[in-house]
Symmetry: C2
Subunit: 419 residues, 2 copies
C-alpha cells in the first residue's frame, strides 16, 4: 500500500470534524451548486396551475415543439436502424458524423471561410453551453445578459465561477438585447434571437460585440437556437456575417425547434480554427481543446439521430422545416396582435416564436401570470424566470397548434383593455 | 454601462502582456487540458498498421461491438419514430424516461433496497465518468487505478485536479485489480469488470473497498460497463450486493456492449439517496446535486433510443442480449486458449470479453504489438494505452465474428512457442 502523497488541509479538517459527529459519509462536494439562488419557476407554475383547478387550459408557457418530427427525418431515422440491424455501426465519430458535418459546413459556414473541421456535432445547445465553460481557466471572467436563457449563468455558478460572473442587465428600451460593456471579459454568452424576449440583434449590434471582443480579447459564445426563425433583413442569420467574427465567436445551432427534434438531441457548434486562447503562458487553439474535450468526455452522438439531422438538410428536409418555422412564427404573431388589441405592449415574434408582453401598470410578472390564468385559463411564463430584469414581463410561446392559438387569441381579446 | 466589479490580476496581466505582442485574442484557457501526458495510442496504432502494408489484417484491437443491434431494440426504435411522426414528443424527461427507469429499477436495483429515483438515464458511461467529478469540490481527492479505462484519469486532469489525483498501481499478481489504500480519498473510480485486463473483483475484494469507503468517508464510482459479461459465481453482478454499499457507491451500467448499442448512446447511473457529502459545511445529498446537474446541463436522452433500451429489458430483449454476450465471451476464450497453446500467460475472458496477454520475456507492449502485427497480421492494443502498469501486456478483444476469431486462433497457434 502506498503512502498518501497529498497535501490535505480541508480533507483532514473535514475528516476529523465530521466523521465523528455525523457518522456519515461526507466527501467534500462542490459548493457552486448552492450558488443558484434564482427560483425554479416551472415547479411553481405547475403548482399554481394545479391549484387553479381550471378546465380547458391553454398552455402558452412551453418552449417545446408542438408539431411532429418532419417526415424526411423520420424516414432517414428508420433507414439508419435497418442499417444497424444489418451490420454493427459502432461508436459514432467523436466530433460527429462526417457527412453531417460536411453538409452543415457547405450550407451555412463555408461562405464565411470557416473550415469543415470547425463543425462539431453535439446532443444539444444546452450541453454545449455548459461544456464550453470548461475550456476556460477557473479565473476567467464570464458575462451573461438578463433576461436570457438561464443555463449559461447556472453552469457558471455550478462550476464555482460566481466571483467571476458578470450579469449585464437589459431593458425594454434596449429590446432586451445587451450592449458591450467598457471593460474586458474572457467570455461573453449571447443569446440571439433571444429567449425569452423574442428579439434579435441587428448587424450593427452584433458588429459592436465583435469589435468589443477583438479589442478586449474575449470569446463570444452565441446561442443561436432560434436562427432558423430570423426574418428581418438587418438581422444576420449568423454572426460570421460580421467581419472579424471568426477570430472571436463560437456559434451554437440546433435542429430542435425547426424540425421537431427536441426529443432526438442533435445540435452543432462552430468553433473556428482562428480562435486563440492563453494556456500556461502559451497561445493555443481553442478548437484543439474543444476537440480534445469531446474526444475524451463523450462517445459521440446517436448515429440514427445524426442521419435524421442530415435528412433535414436536403431540399425536401429544408422545405419541411421551413414550413414548421412559418407556422410557429404565425402563431406568435397572432398572439402578439391579440395582445396589442387590448392595449398591451410587446416585443418579439419577428425573429423568434416568442412574444414578450409588458405587464400592465401595477402588475408584477407573477401577478400578471395569475391574472391570465384566472381570466383566460392561459398558462404563460413569468419573465422573472429568465432573470431579474424580466420581472414586469411574461412570455407567450408560439409553439402551439392552430386551434390552441385561435382560442387563446379569442380569450385575450375579450379582456378589458389595459390602456 | 456598468463598471467592472471584478478582481482581475491574471486577466490584467495577460491583457497587458499579450494583446500587444501577439495581436491575438487570448482569453485564459484551462491549463488542465495540457496535463494529459499519456500518449494517445490509437493514432499510433493506425499509423503502424498503415505502414505495415499488411493484407488480410485481423483487428482484435477494438472495444466496439461486432454484432448488429438486437432485433427487439430495432423494432421499438422504429415504433418510437412512428409515434414522433404522429404527435410531438418534446424534450425527454431530464432524469430519463420514467418507464425505462422503472424497468431498470425493478430488474436490477429494487432487490437491494434502492429507490426508483436513484436511477438516472444518460448517454454513456463515458459522459457520467466525466460529469460525476463535477459534483466534488475542486480540492477533493480522487483515486484511479492503473491499468484501467483512461477516462476517469483524463477528466480529472482536464478539470485541473492533477494535484489531487492519486494513481493506484496494480500488477499481474493482483489480477490488475486495485486494493484499498491506507489513507482517505473523497472519490475512488473503480472499473470492474476491468478494461483492459478482463478481470473482475470478487465479493471479498468489493467488500474491502466498501469497508474502506465507509471508514474513510469516500464515494466509490464503479464503472460496470461489462457487468452483463460476469459469469463467475463469486463475482457480484452489482456492488450493491455488498452490505453498506448503498452508503458509498455509485454504479454505472450500459447497453452498449451487450445489445449492440454503441452507436445509440444509452447508459444509466444508480446514485443512492443514502449517499451524503459535505457542501459549504453542511451535509447534503449527493443525488440532489447530481439531479440538479442533469436538469441544468442536459436536455435528456434521445427518446427513441430510450424506447429501444426498454425493449432490451423485456424477456425477448434480455435473451437476445444474452446471446450476444455469450458469443463475445466465447470468442475471448478461444483467443485465450490459442495464447495458452503457445505458452503465453493471460488474464481475463471470464467476466469480460477481453484477454490480457503478458508479453513474452524481453518484449515491451509496443514490441509485442509489432511482433503480432508482423507475424500474424493481428492488430492488438498495447497495455501501455491503459496506464504505465500495462506496459508488458497487450489486450485482445473478443468483439469479433466467428470467422475472424478462427483465423486469429490459427495464426496465433502457428507461432513458435514462447516458453
Amino acid at each position: 500500500v502506498h503512502e498518501c502523497p497529498f497535501f490535505l488541509p480541508s480533507r483532514v479538517l473535514n475528516y476529523n470534524t465530521f466523521i465523528k459527529t455525523s457518522g456519515c459519509v461526507v466527501p467534500i462536494l462542490h459548493s457552486g451548486f448552492l450558488e443558484i439562488k434564482r427560483e425554479y419557476i416551472f415547479p411553481i407554475i405547475e403548482k399554481k396551475v394545479f391549484e387553479s383547478q381550471k378546465k380547458d387550459l391553454l398552455n402558452l408557457g412551453i418552449g417545446d415543439v408542438a408539431l411532429p418530427l418532419v417526415e424526411p427525418a423520420a424516414i432517414a431515422f428508420k433507414e439508419a436502424i435497418d442499417e444497424m440491424q444489418k451490420r454493427p455501426i459502432g461508436y459514432p465519430a467523436s466530433h460527429g458524423h462526417f457527412e453531417l458535418r460536411q453538409k452543415i459546413h457547405s450550407l451555412y459556414f463555408e461562405k464565411y471561410g470557416l473550415d469543415l473541421t470547425d463543425i462539431f456535432i453535439s446532443d444539444g445547445i444546452n450541453s454545449d453551453l455548459g461544456d464550453l465553460q470548461e475550456i476556460f481557466s477557473q479565473t476567467a471572467l464570464f458575462g451573461v445578459h438578463d433576461p436570457s436563457y438561464p443555463v449559461p449563468q447556472d453552469v457558471c455558478l455550478m462550476a464555482g465561477r460566481s466571483k467571476y460572473l458578470h450579469v449585464l442587465p437589459t431593458s425594454f428600451e434596449m429590446n432586451f438585447l445587451p450592449e458591450p460593456p467598457d471593460y474586458p471579459l474572457d467570455c461573453m454568452y449571447l443569446c440571439t434571437p433571444n429567449n425569452p424576449s423574442g428579439t434579435a440583434m441587428t448587424k450593427d449590434q452584433l458588429a459592436a460585440w465583435v469589435k468589443w471582443a477583438i479589442k478586449h480579447q474575449a470569446i463570444l459564445i452565441v446561442d443561436a437556437a432560434y436562427s432558423d426563425f430570423i426574418t428581418q433583413d438587418d438581422v444576420p442569420q449568423s454572426i460570421y456575417q460580421i467581419e472579424g467574427a471568426k477570430q472571436v465567436a463560437i456559434e451554437l445551432r440546433s435542429f430542435s425547434k425547426s424540425a421537431g427534434f427536441t426529443g432526438l438531441r442533435v445540435s452543432y457548434s462552430c468553433v473556428p480554427s482562428t480562435l486563440l486562447g492563453l494556456c500556461d503562458q502559451k497561445n493555443i487553439s481553442f478548437k484543439k481543446l474543444w476537440a480534445q474535450r469531446m474526444a475524451s468526455k463523450s462517445n459521440g452522438i446517436s448515429y440514427p439521430a445524426q442521419k435524421a439531422a442530415l435528412a433535414c438538410l436536403t431540399e425536401e428536409g429544408l422545405s419541411a422545416t421551413l414550413k414548421q418555422v412559418h407556422h410557429y412564427l404565425l402563431m406568435a404573431r397572432r398572439l402578439k396582435d391579440a395582445a396589442h388589441a387590448v392595449g398591451l405592449k410587446t416585443l418579439g415574434a419577428d425573429n423568434a416564436p416568442y412574444v414578450f408582453i409588458e405587464c400592465p401598470q401595477g402588475f408584477s410578472s407573477w401577478e400578471f401570470f395569475d391574472y391570465l390564468l384566472d381570466k383566460c385559463a392561459i398558462v404563460s411564463v413569468p419573465g422573472l424566470g429568465f432573470g431579474q430584469q424580466g420581472d414586469h414581463f411574461i412570455r407567450l410561446s408560439g409553439f402551439i397548434g392552430e386551434d390552441v392559438c385561435q382560442r387563446a387569441c379569442e380569450r385575450l381579446t375579450s379582456l378589458a383593455c389595459f390602456v
